[in-house]
Assembly symmetry: D2
Homo-oligomer: 253 residues x 4
Amino acid sequence: MTNTQVTLVQIDNYGPWTVTPEPRREADLQTLQSRLYADISQFVGNRGGYVFFTRFDNMIAVTNGLSMDDHALLQESVGNRYPVTLSLGVATATSPVQALADATEHVQDAGSAQDENRRECLEGRIVDDTSRTTEDIQIAHFDVVNATGNYTDELNAFDTFIEIEQGYAELMRHMRYAHDSLSFFVGGDNVIVVCPDLEKPDYEEAISHVKAAVDVTMQVGVGRGENAHDAGYAAKHALETCRSDGTRVEFEW
Amino acid sequence: MTNTQVTLVQIDNYGPWTVTPEPRREADLQTLQSRLYADISQFVGNRGGYVFFTRFDNMIAVTNGLSMDDHALLQESVGNRYPVTLSLGVATATSPVQALADATEHVQDAGSAQDENRRECLEGRIVDDTSRTTEDIQIAHFDVVNATGNYTDELNAFDTFIEIEQGYAELMRHMRYAHDSLSFFVGGDNVIVVCPDLEKPDYEEAISHVKAAVDVTMQVGVGRGENAHDAGYAAKHALETCRSDGTRVEFEW
Amino acid sequence: MTNTQVTLVQIDNYGPWTVTPEPRREADLQTLQSRLYADISQFVGNRGGYVFFTRFDNMIAVTNGLSMDDHALLQESVGNRYPVTLSLGVATATSPVQALADATEHVQDAGSAQDENRRECLEGRIVDDTSRTTEDIQIAHFDVVNATGNYTDELNAFDTFIEIEQGYAELMRHMRYAHDSLSFFVGGDNVIVVCPDLEKPDYEEAISHVKAAVDVTMQVGVGRGENAHDAGYAAKHALETCRSDGTRVEFEW
Amino acid sequence: MTNTQVTLVQIDNYGPWTVTPEPRREADLQTLQSRLYADISQFVGNRGGYVFFTRFDNMIAVTNGLSMDDHALLQESVGNRYPVTLSLGVATATSPVQALADATEHVQDAGSAQDENRRECLEGRIVDDTSRTTEDIQIAHFDVVNATGNYTDELNAFDTFIEIEQGYAELMRHMRYAHDSLSFFVGGDNVIVVCPDLEKPDYEEAISHVKAAVDVTMQVGVGRGENAHDAGYAAKHALETCRSDGTRVEFEW
């Protein structure tokens, strides 16, 4: 059974900071946001977790394997090197959405995202070390079948983007409402989904749904593991099987 | 009249590179993609342009002010510091979508995104220096009215993300099909749109459309300039007027 | 008694890479070297270690607390994100210089720094986890007394640099030959030294030596710990005592 | 005749910032310093200049080709993305040391490096655009003959470092006092020197001096150009000639 540890990473008072005393150059904000995300990706990723950029001022991470001390260190390091600070909420649940909701509440209880007095909140609970199993995380790695041939090499780059985006949006809503799952676009034509215990029919149905709704054909590799990296890496291998065998849903176990 | 110079930035042979000889750690791919984007944002931004991460392996930039030599230097610098290389297509048109389509064709004509022999293509035309005017670029900076109060401080972080994403998707498709415009989510609840010469009613209609379709309320500041930074910075100021006056559409001229 | 775990980090085949097929832009090499160092600093630092830039193609780290798996992960992550790869040699000894010599030999035995076939060597031994104590590392943090008043605000920036550099060079050679210690300039007027078990008279003598040889007056805070961060942070606090009390040598225990 | 434009880049109030309210993690300071330097290297380098890390809180750049507006943009961009700010002094002279001295005075006149009220000073004069020639900059790129064979593959990494460092220190002092030149270690076994109009005998003498003083054998390639990149790139090519022909001093013109 899955036991997903989710961390909500929220930049403190970011909206006001971006326009005080004057609006800041957009290119600089993009650079700051991207490099902050990249740093968090290294920190979390080097401990077996995954973090997704989401809205950049709010980022969602799967952090099985990270302790509260690890979270505190991340906060301290960012506070030493950036002109902004982070608040972190941590929670665990069988359902990824439930874990994320609890993590969000920890941060919301500490104060508004635009409360200038709320700084570096750190609240929540991690998965107990002795309870961890290799079934804690289920990750599904979707991509669009032959995106390069069907879109990238054929349409203009924005219309290709619209197609990919529609596929992502449809999948994201379906997986959240039907399966309590969290889906994230990770570049190219790839979507990584953090799931509870789902079965092959669930994935086949998701793919059919997206095909029917927006005419985008997807395939998926699914993996399990003790942490996001283990599960996600297994999912990547399963996806390679889809590519080589021409199948649509592959499990790595 | 607008005269938008658009550059398509495409990483050469990226899909195959990410899985050769084996799939690479996802956290490392995210770090690489984000830092590459951040570097391009600094290079383009320091010359008055804007670049949007789009799909990360394909990025769209508004590059009025950058010469072909500037583009070549960007390619060279990235080639010296990353394990991947970039192909660039450049084009100009009154219509942003048309410019982007022509830029895309330059890259497609050089070879497939997954053609391992196509490396560092650089093709296209820039806006003639003597033809540049302060009306070349029109940028609209949208955001969601009181996103923090309505969503961020109230819903779980993924459901907030779904709301923002739906608003973006609706706006993006409307602006592309009705107005040949290119819309990009830039973090938080912000969307920056690269437009041709649009009028107040066009923006009021776009906002109504989004409200009616997905029940997300947006506001917009619009600016013009000789380059993306000038237009975008003016748009940010206009958006501040929306925030302080409670209006929905403000032009900075 | 100290038990220093030292890692030599050497970029594979770097010299040839910088000039093949043609010399690369110097500014890009500087950017690459600095960002690679910064990444290693985060990776090692987040695990309680310290890494010093040294010559940038060869970097020396104090890695008590990092396992061989950690070293392998660092190699993998760098290999995924940079156009170069790293070889790592790891060794432990009471004497920092001895540990560094053994670590160097591991890399040299694998092949020349400019052997294009030697890639990602990983050899050596870490401190046994059960043997670790809070006296394993002794770190001394030196700085120049009132550098700002005596030099930075008075001389031109290069002559100030010459003064600081002379102080560093004299201290570095003295500490290496008299005390088997490894000294590293870390910016400003600061030098961090990795020592075996030294006593107050040893530090007083080092300071006198530097004063007599090049007329640069230094002070030092000394700390001990299970890893470089613990020892180094204690040393920083001791140095603050020097600053506030006007003393020259302070121990944090 | 040379006409060197030098910029002193000084972080405002850095010393106090590093220990307020408490000392900061050393690994984070190293990361911050290195990434800030890397960013400045890209900004300056992309405009044909060179910047050297020097002491990290004080960096020296050769900025022929950068206007005062460029300097202001660099300041603004850093201020938007880092927790520190920069003060910049700019000056030009036939003598590199004189230009650096004048640049330093501009910053010193604005206030102490540790004056918390001195922020983002920008003072000085650039080379007049109409006066620029391809002889404005002379750059000499030295390296140690067969450093890999003589040191890197033979000695422990710190003893190799000591040898390289001694060669650098001797060269640096000689070039400054005998020739008003500014010398910078740039990694590996490389030293880049910013010179006035020097002749072959001057370089032969410098090399003899270093050999006699510390028994380190160096070679040098010299180039000239309108900016640091042009001169430096020519110097790199000349150095390749030394390597292939076994000579000690080569001019690229």
